[in-house]
Symmetry: C2
Subunit: 460 residues, 2 copies
């Protein structure tokens, strides 16, 4: 495909996406196909090439019916993942440039734009100055959690981990509501599930019980174990619970454990002064992760990760074969982001974040966040006034978790009816053993009329 | 940005990329900026949003001078990473759809198109039938190597790894020329560098010395260690060496070790019957990785990974919190790719691979590969006829590794002069302690005149 063909076909593809976004509300949110339906309709690989029209035709014929529409205004499942249209174009520019930023020298702008944006966000989100120079983009919060565990293991071993590996006494602390990626990171790091302590949560707030954490740390220390990392969440996946970061930090400092703060979903709210108190204590964190691809308008995948100890992270992960040696690296004047992640190669992901921050401006991103919180407050008020439904955990920001007083089967049946209707899509969790619907308001296109329609559908 | 704004700005962005690709040859391949040059020219984050023109202006003013142009026809560094224009459009469609395919149910087409393409490639590349149903897309070969190590650890422990972690006796075998990502994967997995055996290579072919591997396995077993994984390469990064996969497989089978085959760069050549013999023995591999983003025209990041034991991989990595439970998963009739990777979320990456395979057809991809091999043969013939330069390792496919008979300083000076000229970019390696220039022919736009110009520049 030469540049002129690309220009012609590229315009068609842009038009297809514009049309798709304009009509997305007309699709059922959740795909209705059965397992295997898509595959049965796909042709084998052909010897000869073909024009792009065939692919666009298959998108209509096969892919769209097999798609759960994450950009639909009725998407309230998991956490919505906005692929705002400016971020789509930023990512297109990244593919178009086609650079690979594993080293500073393999494309200086890819590294320096990223450093710049991550440092600027430290200011805009009122994050600690210890994070300046310690920011890097990851694909997901799961990868960020793994990095935190690896850096923590290295530091905790006094630098022996890199050579000797783990010794089996290392221990990681999460709450019963912490995202499963932290337990999985411990498993990947060779610690096994035996190394993970699930600390109980407060039955009302669902936040980590600091007293229980302290007790567990003490008994582990008495048993000769080594506390390596504690993960505190600002906004858990289940209910949006906020762990007491400041008190957890105090315990971490006492026992030499790394404090990783998971604010994957709620993190962007730190841009708004009125929500910033939720992040109290984050200035004592050793690392923090915030997904721009959830609530910050940036197309998946772009997770922000900051650490106050980039030197530890780099020392843990660095490896320098001959074919990657270069003058810039040896000068010590540059950052090579390959040492800050599990993969070696990397896209110029910062472009899609840059596009978002420039198109919307900080005020536009704040307005986006505030609009969703206001919609969640509205839904909360309707639930509170209702005789049938009730909140089962305190609302945090734009996440409302509710259940029917009539019991789990009523709640589940309501959820399944809503999801089958096609107009909205919600997912669930359990709170103190009770089945509950999560309404995560966060799609860019969601307006009051959509939330009202969801509420009416749940109540019916 | 609403769909109509997107249509207008999107056309401008497509045009910008078309123009960039049309003029890419006019840029110096390697960026000439000094560390910090880019950052000094970037503005802070603004409160108010702005039109897209500002970003496009900064691309011209700051990003392009700070870019090493991987799509330049004179790019011979590392391994070229083609972002062919059909794959750019496939990736644009992925961002535009904005789906997240962590579960089958979160977008069935994202999973089923991927399964379909990976199975089809098993046929097209003449890979073992044991890989059918065992294919998955990763971001990079580094992540694929980590998965192989994790699955190997789990299997080797009889399934106890997941609960108990590593015990320190696990041992991983690479050659002195194996990509550093395997050693790094062992480190990430908690084994430490102490667990990695670097087996010597044949001084002429640079391929793993199987006798040395056998001896090392025996002495480790005698010392109570547990061989967990051997990585054999088809096309090493340094010189393109091909390890004796079949003989390595025999040793793996005898000792219960997982055989991971790293064909990150050379893998696509399996599509051509005349190159398929390089992959002899791959039918006995437990896993294989091939980067579509190197020599298969697909924009970074897309690494193909196959395993004959997806059940082991999934058992190693699966974790199921309440909020991810769903009917389709519980039916057992679907694959949830989140259990096949380190991250939880995932893009619909298969779209960019699908675009490539449909636009070029298998015959087009084969022609692309053969053209580069023919250019490398030509360069090889010029080197052989030259009095000053010589090959320092046998040519494999499109990689030519050469050095000047006048010594390392002459070779290095020639490389630095070429790279400073802007017309071409090459990187280096060492072979038996000798400094050597790697000419990795593989950019889509590279023609004979470019290779000739490089050769003349080296000789001058």
């Amino acid at each position: 495909m030469d540049p002129e063909e690309f220009r012609r076909v590229g315009h068609e593809v842009v038009d297809w996406i514009a049309d798709y976004r304009a009509r997305v509300e007309g699709f059922p949110v959740r795909s209705r196909v059965e397992p295997g339906w898509v595959r049965e309709r796909l042709a084998g690989l052909a010897e000869e090439g073909e024009d792009f029209a065939g692919l666009l035709g298959d998108l209509e014929r096969v892919v769209l019916p097999g798609t759960t529409h994450w950009q639909h205004p009725g998407f309230y499942g998991y956490f919505p993942s906005n692929a705002s249209l400016p971020s789509v174009l930023g990512d297109l520019l990244s593919s178009g440039l086609g650079v690979q930023g594993m080293l500073w020298s393999t494309s200086p702008a890819a590294t320096e734009v990223e450093q710049h944006l991550l440092d600027e966000l430290v200011g805009a989100m009122d994050l600690p100055r210890s994070f300046l120079g310690g920011g890097v983009i990851q694909d997901t919060a799961s990868s960020a959690a793994l990095l935190a565990v690896l850096a923590a293991l290295h530091r905790s071993s006094g630098g022996k981990w890199r050579q000797s590996g783990v010794d089996g006494s290392e221990t990681v602390y999460v709450s019963a509501q912490t995202h499963s990626s932290v337990e999985r990171a411990a498993r990947i790091a060779g610690l096994g599930e035996q190394a993970v302590r699930s600390v109980p949560v407060d039955p009302v707030t669902q936040a980590m019980d600091v007293g229980a954490l302290a007790a567990r740390l003490r008994s582990d220390l008495d048993a000769g174990r080594r506390p390596v990392l504690v993960c505190a969440s600002v906004g858990t996946t289940g209910t949006g619970a906020v762990d007491p970061v400041r008190e957890v930090a105090e315990l971490c400092a006492r026992h030499g454990a790394w404090l990783h703060v998971d604010a994957a979903w709620a993190g962007p709210a730190a841009l708004c002064p009125e929500f910033r108190p939720l992040f109290d204590g984050v200035e004592r964190a050793d690392s923090l992760t915030v997904n721009a691809h959830k609530w910050m308008l940036t197309a998946f995948d772009l997770s922000l990760f900051w650490t106050a100890h980039p030197d530890v992270l780099v020392d843990a992960l660095a490896i320098l074969p001959e074919y990657l040696r270069n003058t810039a690296t040896e000068s010590g004047a540059v950052v090579d982001y390959r040492d800050w992640q599990v993969p070696l190669g990397r896209r110029f992901r910062a472009l899609k974040l840059w596009s978002v921050l420039r198109w919307y401006g900080l005020s536009g991103v704040r307005a986006h966040l505030r609009r969703h919180v206001a919609l969640a407050e509205l839904l909360e008020s309707w639930v509170r006034a209702d005789g049938g439904w009730e909140l089962v955990a305190p609302r945090t920001l734009s996440l409302v978790v509710l259940a029917h007083r009539g019991g789990d089967e009523v709640t589940r049946a309501a959820m399944e009816r809503v999801n089958a209707s096609g107009g909205a899509f919600v997912t669930h969790t359990t709170v103190n053993g009770r089945f509950a619907v999560r309404v995560a308001i966060g799609a860019e296109a969601t307006e009051e009329r959509h939330v009202r329609a969801l509420w009416e559908a749940l109540r019916d």
